[in-house]
Amino acid sequence: MHRPIAAIALFLGLTAPVLAEEFRWAETTDPQTMDPHAVNSTPVLGFLNNVYEGLVRRDRDMKIEPALAVSWEPIGAGEGWRFVLRQGVKFHDGSDFTAEDVLFSYERASSEQADTASWFAPVSEVRVVDEHTVDIMTTSPNPIFPDSIANWMILDSGWAEANNAARPDKEAGNHATLNANGTGPFRVTAREPGLRTVLEPFDGWWDEATHNITRAELTPIQNPATAVAALLSGDIDFINPVPIQDTERLKQNPDVKVIQGIEARVIMLGFPHEAGALKFSDEVSDANPFADPRVRQAVAHAINVPAILQTIMRGNAEEVSQLVSPAMRGYSDAHAARPAYDPEQARALLAEAGYPDGFSFGLKCTNDRYLNDESVCQGITGMLAQVGLRAKLDAMPVQNYWPELRADNFDMFLLGWSPGTFDAEHPIRFLVATPDEEAKLGSWNFGGYSSARIDELLPLIQSEIDETKRQAMLDEVAGIVQDDMAYVPLYVQPLIWGAKANIDLTQRPDNFFILRWVTVN
């Protein structure tokens, strides 16, 4: 299958002097490791999706499709999932892919040293049935399990053990930190951390190649102006992201194109639900006004989201009403309306809650994490001031931000959330469930929001196989969160990529750049 294509490509390469298949791209962040289980972050998983593969993978529309497994089905009444593995798959070093590799990768990815262990929290056991069948047993029925392991990548057990990389090592690194041996369409042929990483097509790949790249090189470029200049001068074929302020200018340029989409990340405001008093207020030091849902609703009504999108985001983002965007599974159509911008009502709600003159408080915000985050916070500060909520903005780099939030040093904070499973259950588990260290629930619920009903519904949602019943419960949760205004969802952040005009590619809302969908014309 591949040989004729290779021969044709070679023929074209010899006759046409242009080496069109060389592809160079730049991202802001270099993947910090080549180990697919060591770091659970977009730069790492997105890059390694070109090198490693999982049992399932996501297609251009984020739907799950077969990869290393050809099919899967629930076992019994939801005791687990049976995966039938693809035959004849080879790793880049030539060894065969078998059920043993799946078991090994499960043990590796769910180990304490791995950063991906949370994906396997519902798994009780993994059984090798035969060389090409694997049963993954779950403690309770788990309808979204195949969805939740789309980024779980399979390593060759022999290779990992031979190179002393049987477990990931975040701190000191090991062979798998700098080298890769996957089954994916590209193999890593050079890796210089922070400088460049070179990929070449793997000619033993089981699937049919849809790209025409012969060599791809990733260069991290931190400075946005440099990246744009590199794209304009033709030194680079693709950059991610394009700075918002440069999009209009790039769109005018016929040599490049701007690819815009909506990311899965929802930007929202959070509150200190549990706190007894405000920390940064001049007037209110013995009470916590934000514990009153009316005050939180007042905040929601006071913020003019369309204005933020138009001025600060320059039309590049979309309003959102809940903790997930409409593209995610489990989005609640019944709660698609966001509280309207209505300063009058905001003032009335504040008066009703006992704060007719408003109050001052501290707003914590990042200045290097989300697109234009600090400007958005400044905009919000101005809007809140009009109803008497006088925010003292404290913007800081994200490295200082999380420790502040963990230490409860906020009266209000900005947060962006992108659900790794592309399912509405994800933010409920991390942001809304009552924090519980043992059960690993609510680990990002900094404000300590708590709803008995949601805590009751969450395990049911996690184990409900019936889509309609599951959606009904998700709708109920979305309703509670909206009525309580546990968070004030603002907008979904945009994805803005830039490419040379002769490049065809597919943008996925998880901000993964998939090389096998790239064609150089």
Partner: protein
């Protein structure tokens, strides 16, 4: 002489200790490295475990003493971001910075002294005045702006030179050099101009004013009166005496070329230690930051030492004063 050297070395070591202490105590304000090393789905237990693994739960003096103890043995620890020994990473990145700094320093000295002498000798001429006015731009424009302007002019508009990176490099022993390939040499042009411009104008203005000062001295007049040729007067007598302060400043400036390389390297994505340092800050990669800062301070202290010793050999008055004082 020996006593002077020993005294200077002891002072230098003290300076290093203080710099290390200040730098190390500042790391706690850069942020928490743990969040970067763990993904979104981390739990408090993961955070606590990694923190104790990295020794970040210990009090800061303990961390500093440990760091010093290891650093003395040449062990700067393992980078949090790359999971590799910091010394390996620094050695890998050093050639890029040193080559860039060497080229910019060379350009700055050569052109700086040349133009300085020229503008001093022909201080009323049109060309000299034009150079002086232009040099104001070099002093006043910030480095990143000059870099971006050069990129837009020579890469985007004209397409002559690469917009970023180091081009192809050749390995000679353990050293990766860009001097031996065409793309490597091309890639050096814009960043070295950007980096050297400020130093060049500084040296030029310094040489000019010192030279003007010297040319007014009596011994120059006597030299002229003795009928020495203009060339000999200017270069053998005037320039030589101009060089004492110039060497001081140039020495210190060479240090700041390497330190300022941070900005140039960021603008041009130049894969040197400056870029490494910037990335380390974003990632709160404490071992890399600590090693870099120590390295830079060692360099500055070393340069100061050399400058002091050069004084000795160039300016006989210093030696005379010393011997009298003792």
């Amino acid at each position: 002489m020996l006593a002077f050297v020993i005294q200077r070395i002891v002072q230098s070591a003290l300076v290093l200790l203080v710099v290390g202490l200040v730098a190390f105590s500042m790391f706690r304000f850069v942020g928490d490295p743990i969040d970067n090393m763990l993904g979104q789905e981390r739990t408090q237990a993961d955070i606590d475990r990694l923190r104790s693994q990295l020794g970040l739960d210990q009090p800061f003096p303990v961390q500093y003493v440990k760091f010093l103890g290891n650093a003395v043995q040449g062990n700067f620890g393992v980078s949090y971001r790359q999971g590799r020994p910091v010394s390996d990473i620094l050695l890998e990145r050093a050639p890029a910075t040193l080559e860039l700094a060497a080229v910019s320093g060379f350009l700055a000295i050569l052109i700086g002294i040349g133009l300085g002498v020229f503008t001093a000798i022909r201080r009323e001429g049109f060309a000299a005045n034009a150079i002086m006015s232009l040099s104001l731009i070099g002093v006043s424009l910030p480095t990143f702006l000059i870099g971006i302007l050069l990129i837009y002019l020579f890469s985007v508009e004209l397409g002559w030179l690469p917009s970023f990176g180091r081009g192809d490099t050749v390995r000679v022993g353990g050293w990766s050099t860009g001097f031996l390939t065409e793309s490597g040499l091309k890639a050096l042009i814009l960043p070295s101009i950007t980096l050297g411009l400020y130093q060049m104008t500084l040296i030029m203005r310094l040489v000019r004013s010192e030279m003007l000062e010297v040319l007014r001295q009596d011994y120059i007049r006597f030299a002229r009166a003795r009928g020495l040729r203009e060339r000999a007067v200017n270069f053998r007598h005037a320039l030589k005496n101009t060089l004492v302060p110039v060497i001081t400043v140039t020495g210190l400036q060479l240090g700041s070329i390497i330190a300022f390389a941070i900005i140039t390297e960021t603008v041009f994505q130049w894969p040197g230690v400056g870029l490494l340092f910037i990335n380390a800050i974003q990632f709160v990669d404490i071992p890399v930051m600590a090693a870099y800062l120590m390295l830079i301070s060692v360099m500055f202290v070393g340069i100061n030492l050399i400058v002091d010793l050069l004084y000795f050999s160039i300016d006989p008055r210093l030696r005379a004063d010393r011997t009298k004082a003792h």
